[in-house]
């Protein structure tokens, strides 16, 4: 099963580069959503003695949260807040891509120097995790819009989740707590929506006030 897992991690690493190169917000959001679904499938193909209800729960929660709920919230925010769909990079797409590609390479090299348990040595989980964390940072720091920063945060979080897969099943209440990061993302998005709605009301109110005065 390691082969299949590595293929999935490889696709996730490729999607990182797509996210770095993408110039439109809906594309960025959908890329992150696909990443979320892939991450959700991974616990199911990890090598374990017996099928475990806990792993299944993590898988379902991840697909539902990262793959469906958060992306749909993000798309909704895009609509409700009437945000322009361009990404507006602070750091250009080509430099971002180059940096991301170099980072992915560096992650693979760095992993050679980290001691891994025998059952993890053949997987791409650690380089995938490091590369995603780095991609997340590039998006967080290199994009102007709040929504693209949220996407960056999601990619960063996906990297942490990949690393967490190494510990899944052997350490109670550490990996599972990562779900709170998704809650953080939820707060981000709700914040954007609430703020935009409040401001709309504010401006409506003032307009009405001037109307009354006249």
């Amino acid at each position: 099963m390691t082969g299949l897992l590595n293929v999935l991690v490889g696709v996730v690493m490729g999607l990182n580069l797509v996210a770095l190169a993408g110039g439109r917000l809906p594309l960025l959001i959908r890329t992150v959503a696909v990443q979320g679904v892939l991450l959700g499938l991974m616990p199911l193909i990890l090598e374990h003695e017996s099928p475990d209800w806990k792993l299944a729960a993590v898988a379902v929660a991840t697909v539902a949260g990262k793959g469906l709920l958060i992306p749909s919230l993000l798309l909704r925010a895009l609509r409700v807040a009437r945000i322009d769909r361009e990404v507006e990079p602070l750091l250009g797409f080509v430099p971002s891509l180059l940096l991301g590609a170099l980072g992915t390479l560096a992650a693979v090299v760095l992993t050679e120097f980290l001691p891994l348990r025998a059952e993890h040595a053949a997987t791409l989980l650690v380089p995938g995790a490091l590369a995603s964390v780095l991609t997340g940072f590039i998006l967080l720091a290199g994009r102007v819009k709040a929504l693209s920063q949220v996407c960056g945060y999601l990619v960063l979080e996906n990297g942490i989740y990949l690393f967490g897969l190494l510990l899944l099943g052997s350490t109670p209440l550490l990996v599972e707590s990562g779900i709170l990061l998704d809650v953080t993302v939820g707060v981000f998005v709700i914040g954007i929506i609430v703020d935009r709605i409040q401001r709309t009301f504010d401006s409506l109110d003032t307009r009405r006030l001037t109307v009354l005065r006249e």
């Binding site: 980290l114 967080l140 979080e157 690393f163 350490t171 953080t184 981000f188 914040g191």
Partner: protein, 482 residues
Amino acid sequence: MNEWLSLGLIGVPLLGAGLAGVWPDHRTRPWLLPAVGVVHLALVLARAGQAPVVAPGAWLGFDPLARAVLPAVSLLFLGCAAYAVPYLRLRSERPNRVFVALLLTVLGLVSAGHQARHLGLLWITTEAVTLACVPLLHFNGTPRAFEATWKYLVVGGTGMALSLLGSFCLGYASLHGGGQGDLTFAALAVQGPELSRPWVLAAWVLVLAGYGTKMGLAPMHTWKPDAYGEAPGIVGALLAGGVTTVAFTAILRVRAVVGAAGAGAVADRTLLALGLFSLVMAALFLLGTRDFKRMLAYSSVEHMGLLSLGAALGGAGLAAALFHVWSNGLTKGALFLSAGNVRRAAGSASMDTARGMARLTPGSAGLMVAGMFAVTALPPFAPFFSELRIVRAGLTEGRGWAVGVMLLGLLLAFLGMTRVVFGVVEGRPAPAVRRSAARFAETAGVLVPPLALLAASLALGLFRPTGLEAAWQAAVAQIRQP
């Protein structure tokens, strides 16, 4: 019995939060804050009076480290809670249901964070505190408040993500060393040298970056000036003296494991470097800022630097840092609350607009000046003595140059802060400020809480009960095992 008291410290505030959520009356709801504050302080004192014995495998417990820090947070909360009642009456135009409920939630979660003896549980509580603070920062509902909250969430959220990654690395270090998945700090410390060293070092770097962001150590402090500048004074005081201390004890708990793994010297060096960098950066920003609430944020960065520095300077230094948690929390609380009064009266936190406040709000201005001198280490207030101890620890450890840098930083910070505070207090108030101040009544309700906190800081400077000294020493023994 002891376990019940420990759980009560968490449960009572959370119950209070639930009660605040369903409390129907807008005007009486804030009274829940001091009510819960009193019960919490009583519980803390009752628990602190007993021996801090905790079952080794417990995930949660009032251990020596919690005993050394949590009473200070409880005292600070009570002061802020007493201030919140008149403050929320002044701000009756804003709904306070969420605000009151979340202040109590923060108290409960901070109590849990200080007592967390498990790597995952510690992270969960810290993350939950981070999220609970978001609506508190946004209380004023202005676009500036939104911007500050956004920055807090992005920077703080990234910090929390990094600390989770660090926790994973520490977990993997344990697994790689043959651990069975028991991630209580006690078990990790017992595993000690068997922990995989590269993973322990990776964990330390990430945890320090992550929880260091929550503490507000430079260069991860960028959220602080905005957050403290836009949030109500109570929230600033609780962040600076309560929430940041959870991140500090989190770093200390991981430091204990890193020390057991044989990398204590590396940990001390990084803490020293980060502490000094924060001190110097904060001092430079203090020389430049013209906003007295942002000044408090930079001052907080400075004092977090002092905590980090103290923790790097051996057992005596760590004891001094724990003392400084108390002296900084109480003094800074007084300063935040009095500055909040001045800000409210003047309608601005900029020294360009707010001038001559000694004439308009004499009580708050006086408290602000006294608090400023106290926090910049004027004897006999507590910060003088805790900082003196850090200096002494530095000299005994042979880190004279670090002490030199620290004293220089303190001097520059003093110059920067006196410049701002006297700029606000002295001079002739502008007509607009006079009109604004005429709407603000300096009642006893908004003066007594900061005065009481300042008095507590003074008392802590003059007499330190032997029990308190013993509590700090016991915490040092817990963190820095030989």
